[in-house]
C-alpha cells in the first residue's frame, strides 16, 4: 500500500488534543485539588523543617538542634522509649488481632457479629479515654488493683488485688494495644476473608497437617495484610501521645516530648526538631509498606473460590474462649470509663450521679466544646468526603496530565505518614504568621486568616485522615468499569453529569463509609487539633486532655462517654440511613 501524503493546506497537527471548556473545567479542578493538597500537606512541612534548622530568633544554625537533641540524654531516651513502645505494641496488637481475625473468618464459633462489633468498639473511643479507663482499672485505686474495692477480700477472704504498676511502660503498652488492636483487626479481617478455598482443598488432598497448612497457605496469603497491619500499628503507637500522656508516668516518649516542648515550654524550635525525628521512622515505615504492597496484585486471583469454614469443635471452642477474653478486655476498659463517669467520688463514694456531666465547674469548655467537636466532625465529614472523593475521581478517572495526577496521588498517599502532632505544629508555622519570609523576601501570608478558625481544624483533620479515605474512594472507583466514562463521552455527556448520575451513585456505599470514618476520627482525635484549637473553639477531645491534666478525671471520663456516644449514634444513624439508601440506589445490585 502506498503512503499517501497529506493534502495541501493541511498542517500536521500537534500532539495536544483540542482543549474544550469541559477539559478546562477538569484541569482547573485537578489544579485546585493539587493546590489543596500542596497547601494542606506539603507546603506546611517546609517551615517545619526550616524551623528545626534555625535558632529561636530564626537564624540558620544547621543541624545544631539535632546535635543538641541527640546529646541530651532525656530526649534521646524518649526516642528509644517510643521505638520500644511501637515495637512491642505492633508485635502484640498484630499477633492478637491476627488470631482474632482468623478465629472470626476461619472457625465456626458462635456470635461472630457480636465479636466483630466489640473488636471495632475502640475505634470510637478517644485514646485518652482508653487510658482513663486503664487508670480506673489498674491505677492504684483501680478496680483490678484493689480487687474490686476489696470485694473479694470481704466476701471470700481472698485478696484478689493485682497491681500492674500501671504508670509507665506497662500502662502505655496496654493502652496502645487496645488502641491499635481494632486497626490491625480491620486489615487482617479483610485479609483473612479473602482466603482461596482451592488452596486449602489442595492442602487437604495432599494430606498436610493443619500446622503445615497454616505455614504454607494461611500465612503467605495473609502476608500483605500483615505488613499493612504492622505499618499501621507501628505508626499509630509510635506517634500517639494521648495514652502516654495519661498513663505514661515518668516514661517519656517522643510524642509527649513534642507536646512538652511546644505547649509546656513554648519551645517551637525544639518541638520542630523532635517532630522531624518523629517523622523519619513513620516515613520509612510508609515507604517499606508501599514497596511491599507493590507485589500484592499477584497474590489475589480473580478465580479464587471463597472458603467456608467447617465446624471443628475443639478449634471453635478455643476461638470462642480466645475472642471472649479479648472482647471482655475491650468491654471492661470502655465500660469502666462509663462507670467512672457516673461514680460520685472514686473510690470512696460509689453512689451513682450525673454530676460529672455538669461541666460548669471544670475547665475544658464543657458542653460548648462538645458542640464544637460535633460541628467540626460534621464539617470534616462533609467537606472532607467531597474533597477526597472528588480528588480520587480526578486522579483515577482522568486521562490527561499524567505527571500532575501522579503528584496528586503521591500527596494523597503520603499524608498517612504524617503524625497528627507534626501536622499541627507544621500548620502553626505555616498558617500563623501574618508574613512569610522566603529567602529574605517578606510576603503576606494569604492563609493567615485561617489561623484559629474552625476551617483550619477541619483542614487539619481532613489531611490527617486523608489517605485511608482516599484509598477507599480509589478502590471504589477502580471497581467501576472505565469504559462507562468512554461511553458517556461518546454520547456527548459532560463528565460532571456522568459523575453525578453514574459514578457517585455507584460509589455511594464507599462515600458513606468515608464520611463516617472522617466523622468518628474528627471526634476522637487529639494530636493535630490540640496544637491548633483556639480559645474561641474548644474541643471535646482536647477537653479530655485538659480535664485530666487538672485532675478532673471523672469529668474527663464523662466527656469521653459523650464522645463515644456521639460516634456510636452516628454509626447507628449511618446504618439506618444507608440501608434504605442501599435499597434505592443499589437496586441494580440485586439479581
Amino acid at each position: 500500500m502506498s503512503q499517501r501524503t497529506l493534502p495541501p493546506g493541511r498542517a500536521e497537527p500537534g500532539r495536544l488534543a483540542k482543549i474544550t471548556s469541559e477539559e478546562w473545567l477538569r484541569r482547573s479542578l485537578l489544579l485546585l485539588l493539587l493546590g489543596v493538597l500542596l497547601v494542606g500537606i506539603l507546603l506546611p512541612l517546609v517551615p517545619l523543617g526550616m524551623r528545626s534548622l534555625s535558632d529561636p530568633q530564626g537564624n540558620f544554625v544547621g543541624l545544631d538542634n539535632y546535635v543538641r537533641y541527640f546529646s541530651s540524654p532525656g530526649l534521646t531516651s524518649s526516642l528509644f522509649n517510643s521505638l520500644t513502645i511501637a515495637g512491642k505494641t505492633t508485635l502484640l496488637a498484630v499477633g492478637l488481632a491476627f488470631v482474632y481475625a482468623w478465629a472470626l473468618a476461619r472457625t465456626c464459633m458462635p456470635g461472630k457479629h457480636f465479636f466483630r462489633a466489640v473488636a471495632l468498639l475502640p475505634l470510637v473511643v478517644p485514646p485518652l479515654a482508653l487510658a482513663i479507663g486503664l487508670v480506673y482499672l489498674f491505677g492504684r485505686k483501680g478496680l483490678v488493683t484493689t480487687g474490686f474495692f476489696g470485694f473479694f477480700e470481704q466476701n471470700f477472704g481472698i485478696a484478689l488485688g493485682f497491681d500492674l504498676n500501671l504508670y509507665g511502660q506497662n500502662g502505655i503498652l496496654l493502652g496502645e494495644l487496645i488502641y491499635c488492636f481494632p486497626q490491625a483487626f480491620l486489615i487482617l479481617a479483610v485479609a483473612a476473608s479473602l482466603a482461596d478455598a482451592r488452596l486449602y482443598e489442595a492442602s487437604q488432598v495432599l494430606n498436610a497437617s493443619p500446622l503445615r497448612t497454616f505455614w504454607s497457605v494461611t500465612l503467605p496469603e495473609m502476608r500483605y495484610g500483615l505488613i499493612s497491619a504492622v505499618f499501621v500499628c507501628f505508626t499509630l503507637a509510635f506517634t500517639d501521645f494521648g495514652i502516654p500522656k495519661v498513663v505514661g508516668g515518668n516514661y517519656n516518649v517522643l510524642a509527649t516530648d513534642i507536646y512538652k516542648q511546644v505547649i509546656g515550654q513554648q519551645n517551637f524550635v525544639m518541638g520542630a526538631t523532635v517532630s522531624i525525628v518523629l517523622l523519619i521512622p513513620t516515613v520509612l515505615a510508609f515507604v517499606a509498606d508501599r514497596i511491599a504492597q507493590r507485589h500484592q496484585n499477584a497474590v489475589l486471583t480473580a478465580r479464587a473460590t471463597p472458603l467456608h469454614p467447617r465446624p471443628t469443635p475443639l478449634l471453635d471452642r478455643f476461638a470462642l474462649v480466645y475472642c471472649s477474653l479479648v472482647a471482655a478486655a475491650i468491654l471492661a476498659v470502655t465500660g469502666t470509663v462509663i462507670y467512672a463517669s457516673l461514680v460520685d467520688v472514686w473510690p470512696y463514694r460509689l453512689e451513682l450521679t450525673l454530676r460529672h456531666y455538669d461541666f460548669s465547674k471544670v475547665g475544658g469548655g464543657g458542653w460548648e466544646a462538645y458542640t464544637n467537636s460535633l460541628w467540626m466532625a460534621f464539617y470534616t465529614a462533609g467537606v472532607g468526603t467531597a474533597i477526597i472523593f472528588a480528588g480520587a475521581y480526578l486522579i483515577e478517572k482522568n486521562r490527561t496530565w499524567g505527571p500532575l495526577r501522579q503528584t496528586a496521588y503521591f500527596l494523597s498517599m503520603i499524608s498517612v505518614a504524617l503524625p497528627g502532632l507534626v501536622i499541627g505544629l507544621a500548620y502553626i508555622f505555616f498558617f500563623n504568621p501574618t508574613h512569610w519570609t522566603l529567602l529574605g523576601v517578606e510576603m503576606p501570608n494569604p492563609f493567615a486568616g485561617l489561623y484559629g478558625t474552625m476551617a483550619i481544624l477541619v483542614l487539619s483533620n481532613i489531611v490527617h485522615f486523608y489517605t485511608v479515605s482516599f484509598m477507599a474512594a480509589t478502590t471504589a472507583l477502580k471497581q467501576i468499569d472505565g469504559e462507562l466514562e468512554a461511553v458517556s463521552a461518546s454520547l456527548g455527556v459532560p463528565f460532571y453529569r456522568t459523575f453525578w448520575r453514574i459514578t457517585l451513585p455507584l460509589s455511594l456505599p464507599a462515600v458513606a463509609e468515608i464520611a463516617l470514618y472522617l466523622f468518628v476520627n474528627a471526634m476522637v482525635t487529639v494530636s493535630a487539633v490540640i496544637l491548633l484549637y483556639s480559645p474561641q473553639i474548644k474541643l471535646a477531645s482536647v477537653a479530655i486532655v485538659n480535664l485530666d491534666d487538672a485532675g478532673d478525671t471523672a469529668a474527663a471520663a464523662a466527656m469521653s462517654v459523650l464522645v463515644i456516644a456521639a460516634c456510636l449514634t452516628v454509626r447507628i444513624l449511618y446504618f439506618w440511613i444507608t440501608r434504605p439508601l442501599h435499597r434505592r440506589t443499589q437496586a441494580w445490585r440485586l439479581p
Binding site: G248, K260, I263, G363, A455, D549
Partner: protein, 347 residues
Amino acid sequence: MKQWTTAIFALLLLAGCSAVQPSGETGTAAPSGEITVYTALEDDQISSYLALFNEQHPEITVNIVRDSTGIITARLLAEKENPQADVVWGLAATSLLVAEQQEMLEAYAPAGLERVRAEFRDSDTPPHWVGIDTWFSAFCVNTVEVEKSGLTMPTSWADLVKPEYKGLIAMPNPASSGTGFLSVSAILQMMGEEAGWAYLDQLHENIAVYTHSGSKPCRMAGAGEVAIGISFDYRAVKQKEAGEPIEPVFPAEGSGWEIEANALVRKSEIVPAAKVFLDWAIGDDIMQLYAGSYPITSVATEIPIPDGYPADPLAQLVENDFVRMAGEREQILAQWTERYDGKSEPR
C-alpha cells in the same frame, strides 16, 4: 434530591470557611465586643467569677484560655511578637514580673486601685500588674490511705522526706505549675540554696510523680492514687468540702505563697473592653467572691476566713522575695529540670 444535596454541600463549604473571629469593636459609651483572657485560676473558680462578669457586662464576650501557670507564662512569652491575649487574670506575680521585664505589659491603673493593699501591686504608677489574692502551699493528705497503710499524718516539710512515704507523694512540676514553683522557691528561701536542694533531693526519693498542674496532686490524693499531694490551700479545702477523704495540712515551717495578679497585655490595638474587665476584676463584688475562696485578698472584705484555712493565714506565709524569685526563676527551673524531670508527667 439533587438541589437538596447541592445545598447541603454548599452549606458545608461555606460553614467550613466562615470562622469565629475575635472582633474588637471600639464602642463608645459602654465598650462591647470580645476579649481573650489568659488565666491560671482554677476552673471551678472561673465559672462562678465569670458568671458575675457576664451578668454585669453582658455586652462583652470573654474567651478564657486557662492553663497552669507555667503554660500560660510560656504561651504569653512565646506570643510576644503577636500577642493573642488582651488581659491576664489571676496569674502568679513572678510570672508577670518576667513578662514586665520583656516589656509585654501595658501600665494601667484600674478603677478602685487605691483600695488595693500596696504590697499586692506593682510599685510603678500606673502599675503594670495588680494583685487580687494570694495562694499558698498545702498538703492534701488522704486520711483513708494514711490510716489503712498505718502511716503518720505529716505536719511539716520535714515529715515529707520520711522513708515511710516512699512513692506515695505527688508534687507539681515547678516548670509548668505556679504552685510547684512557689513550693520550691519557699524551700530554697527557707533553707537556703544548698540545704534547699539537698532537701529536694531527699524529697525526690519519695515522689511518685511530678504533675503538670498544681491541683492534680490533690486530685490524685483525693482519688487515693497517692497518699499525699503537695498542692495549695484552696484545692485542699475545696476537695474536703466535696466529701473526699482529704485533710488539708499546712506545713509547720510555713507555706510558700504567691500573689495572683492581673495585667493588661501590650499590643497594637488595646480594646476598651479589656480595661472594663480589669476594672471589674478588682471591684468590690468580685472581691467578695475571691474572699470566699481565699483567706487573703488584695482588697480587704468583710467575708470571714472560710472554714478549713488557718485562723491566721498571714502567719502561715514564709518570707518571700518576689523580685528575686522572678529574677532567678529561669535558673531555678533549669536546675530543677535537670535534676528531677525524669519523673515528670508528660508536658
